[in-house]
Amino acid sequence: MALCHFYLSQMAASSERSPPPFPDSEEPELLEDSDEEADAFTGTSISEMDSPSPDSTRPPKDIFNEPPEDIFSDPLSNINSEPQKKVDAKIPSPSSDEAVDLFSDPLDDDSEVMSSPEVQNPMPDLLNEPVEAPKSDVLGEPPVHRNAARHQDVFEDPPKSSSKSSSVKKAASAEMFGDDDDEEDLFKEPPKVVTKKPQPSGPPVDVFTEVKSDVKVKPQVKDDPTDLFAEEALTAPAPKPSSGSSSSRTNGVHSEEQDLFSEATVELSLDSPCNDRKNKEAVKPSVSAPAAPVASSSSKAPSKSLEELEEEESEDKFDLNISITNPEKVGDGMNAYMAYKVSTQTSLTMFRSKTFTVRRRFSDFLGLFEKLSEKHSQNGYLIPPPPEKSILGMTKVKVGKEDPSSAEFVERRRAALERYLQRVVSHPSLLQDPDVREFLEKEELPRAVSTQALSGAGFLKMLNKATDAVSKMTIKMNEQDVWFDEKIQDVENEEQHLRKLHVMVESLVNHRKELSGNTAVFAKSVAMLGSSEDNTALSRALSQLAEVEDRIEQLHQEQASNDFFTFSELLADYIRLLGAVRGCFDQRMKAWQRWQDAENMLQKKREAEAKLLWANKPDKLQQAKDEITEWEAKVTQYEREFERISATVRKEVIRFDKEKARDFNRQVIKYLESLLHSQQQLIKYWDAFLPEAKAIV
């Protein structure tokens, strides 16, 4: 990680020449504010962190808007008041940024300054020392100590979260991270998160524009303090060169190169006023600085990555392996249940460790689904449905001892659960859901209660019923979007088709099993025939034939289970998934209906207003007008919602299609390979038999 940072920082340095080092001059004034603001920001950041949803982007913006103004206004009045020291001490991260800037700036000839950057490049380990040296020279003592201390922290953390994050942590750790766990997560994750962020799509742009506006306001402040800068530059570089600068730079680099920004930028402001300055200089760097803390806050990451991850994922397979193993019966009698070992292997930084295992029971899986669908389904997300609850199968497991059919049931369920979880985590936005992470990581989950009554099948049935009812109600929905129109049709046809196919495959499996059974019986019978045959060669050949048939029986059996596990289960999954897709369409339809209803309401209100106008009742007129504006707002809101949901559903469906194609392709290949294998075996067997047959005299 550290290396990575460095690499990036170097790149940043080269690319970041333009930003001049002014900021420091302002620092003193700003810093005062910054302290206060930092708190404020941390406060906001907490709230953001808590809310994992994409909306988190908004609060930051607001924050952003406000702080700059304050900051600037203050600085102007109080410029050059006291607190260089303060600044340094309390806001190490910003200083680091400045340091970076300084380095990049060819104009600044401070030898000390230069030295520090060089130190940076080589290695993170080296940093501590050089850092200290400059500090002592340049700065007052207090800052040095503080910074040093922080540095150590930073370095101790293996993940090397940005220095900023550490600073943030100190400032507001208590508030921000109630859980120690969270903290850890945050620190470990940053590196990855940072890398991810570069790709952000929509939100960043907004941030930028805002930032720019801010920047414009500030310029005056900037220009003045160039002189001051030198001093500050010195101070700054010393403390933070290592991690802080690197992280900020990496971010900066990303932003420059890819235009990618994120809400993260908003948080920058938290760290210090310096950022603001930066904003003035160049929008990008400022933004970049904040990114680091954002990165550290895992909860933030999701919001950004929702969309980006999707693209990312399609390109390269993300690194999260989930396997479910060791189904184990827990308890006795009817209270018994099966517990499955869910092992996760990942290099994603949002998880605490690379590999972890938890034990989950079936209802936990259902509970997860419920939580997810509660949260996300109204947004039009496609929540992969879990396997259905099977009372019969489970009862068998509970009662039966070592019945092959119950073993098969358990295996079938295990595989289904595994696929289900894999689907969940392969969904970029669901992966970010804290419940999912909790499910994968947390030792103990609260018992999912409501799933008891609600078996998968029952639920789906309910869903389907509701779906039908709704679709009947809104059947008049005139679809303007041809794409959706076709897609809905497609999905329905496909579902029917898959159902047929599924039935077919089931019977195929049964027939194959039957065939295998009959082959076994025949093999035995031939063996008997061989034993009673009095021609030795023929007898031998017959017993060989029996053996061949026996092996073929094995092949058939394997093939049957292949048929089953590759096709039948795949089809069953996709039948369920298509149900979920339909659910998405229904959500969209519901949104549409809300919109239409609002539209109708608005219409009515308008008519009422017209009537009032005509009836000349001014007292009520005002109220009517208010209502109209209210409903207008609602209409636009619902319309936007509908549009948003349409977009989401569309994306989800496209994603689903892609995934489906991939899944089917993979399974078909797997299946064909299994067929290939059995044919090869067959050839082997018959090849061996042929000479035996020829040896009959």
Binding site: H497, K500, L501, M504, V505, S507, L508, H511, R512, E514, L515, N518, T519, V521, F522, K524, S525, V526, M528, L529, S532, E533, D534, N535, A537, L538, A541, L542, L545, F664, N665, V668, I669, L672, E673, L675, L676, Q679, Q680, L682, I683, W686, D687, F689, L690, A693, K694, I696, V697
Partner: protein, 395 residues
């Protein structure tokens, strides 16, 4: 004679190449060649056109054809069985009754289900079933032909008058199927016979060869019966599986054309595998089920004769002791003895022939079976490989 007969069951395997002229191997002397040149299925009966080529003087012409039905074959067979003259021979087993019911039923079902599938599926399915029907039909014809060929190749049976009538008389033999009373009688006869068979089988044979043959045949017959039933079941389920696979394919092709095509092809191969297994294995077993039954019958007849002979001996002893009807007893004893001797003599040869024939037939069929299986498996393999290549190339 022996080599000729060896190929009896084997002929069945040629069935899929169409109705072939009689296996030439059968007719080493070429004085009498019989084949079924044509067959016609009419509602519930099948008319076989039996074509004969002969240089034997007892036929008016050298070449002629008559139309015969299954019942007439049965009649011919029964006439052999009932003829005491032939007690010492293995009577070639009668051909099984043509049975198209299952196939017809399927066709009918298909007709009913016409609405539920697409036209394409329907026509495909229909072709499928028609092909199956045709296969059964051909097989039936082949079985009848084999029976005639075996008779024609048999040194004694070929001279049978009934056989000649069967071949030459160009009008309906007016053989009717057995009525209920006769069937009942047959049934009782069979019961008596099998009870008697058990008794006779219990008698210790003086001749080791026959003793051995007896135990062997009893066991062998049961085993073959079992195997035959099992192989039938196996092949039936194989065929059903192919059929389902077919439906599966037709559904699948809406998803992956390529894969569906592949499945279609592999399924066809698989169907061929089933058909070949049917021909090479099931039919072989079935034929030897009947043949071993015939051999068992021969042994029974001999055993019966032996028991008769012993009884006659006892009767003679008694008569001599009482000095009464000695002459009559002596003649009876003489007759029985002669009969037994005669049966034993020909039976020994017949049984040895039966064995060689059997071994040769099994060898041929098994080798062919293995070769066909290999061929099909390799074909499948190739298809799968190419398809996999295409699929993987796609991804």
């Amino acid at each position: 004679m022996q080599e000729g007969l060896d190929d009896g069951p084997d002929f069945l395997s040629e069935e899929d190449r169409g109705l072939r002229a009689v296996n030439v191997d059968l007719q080493t002397d070429a004085t009498l060649q019989v084949d079924i040149s044509d067959a016609l299925s009419e509602r519930d009966k099948v008319k076989f056109t039996v074509h004969t080529k002969s240089t034997l003087p007892n036929f008016k012409q050298n070449e002629f054809s008559v139309v015969r039905q299954h019942e007439e074959f049965i009649w011919l067979h029964d006439s052999f069985v009932e003829n005491e003259e032939y007690a010492g021979y293995i009577i070639p087993p009668a051909p099984p009754r043509p049975d198209f019911d299952a196939s017809r039923e399927k066709l009918q079902k298909l007709g009913e289900g016409e609405g539920s599938m697409t036209k394409e599926e329907f026509t495909k399915m229909k072709q499928e079933l028609e092909a199956e029907y045709l296969a059964i039909f051909k097989k039936t014809v082949a079985m009848h032909e084999v029976f005639l060929c075996r008779v024609a190749a048999h040194p004694v049976l070929r001279k049978d008058l009934n056989f000649h009538v069967f071949l030459e008389y160009n009008q309906d033999l007016s053989v009717r199927g057995k009525n209920k009373k006769e069937k009942l009688e047959d049934f009782f006869k069979n019961v008596v016979k099998s009870a008697d068979g058990v008794l006779v089988a219990g008698v210790k044979d003086v001749d080791d060869f026959f003793e051995h043959e007896k135990t062997f045949l009893l066991e062998y017959h049961n085993r073959v019966k079992d195997s035959s039933a099992k192989s039938d079941r196996m092949i039936r389920s194989h065929k059903i599986q192919c059929l389902t696979c077919f439906l599966f394919c037709s559904l699948l092709n809406r998803f992956f054309l390529k894969v569906s095509e592949l499945f279609e092809k592999t399924r066809k191969i698989e169907a061929r595998v089933a058909a070949d297994e049917d021909l090479k294995l099931a039919d072989l077993l079935k034929y030897y089920l009947r043949e071993s039954q015939a051999a068992k019958d021969l042994l029974y007849r001999r055993g019966r004769a032996l028991v008769d002979y012993e009884n006659a001996n006892k009767a003679l002893d008694k008569a001599r002791a009482k000095n009464k009807d000695v002459l009559q007893a002596e003649t009876t004893q003489q007759v029985c003895c002669q009969k037994f001797e005669k049966i034993s003599e020909s039976a020994k040869q017949e049984l040895i022939d039966f064995k060689t024939r059997r071994v040769a037939a099994f060898r041929k069929n098994l080798v062919e079976l293995a070769e066909l299986e290999l061929k099909h498996a390799k074909g499948n393999l190739q298809l799968l490989q190419s398809c996999l290549g295409v699929l993987k190339g796609d991804t």
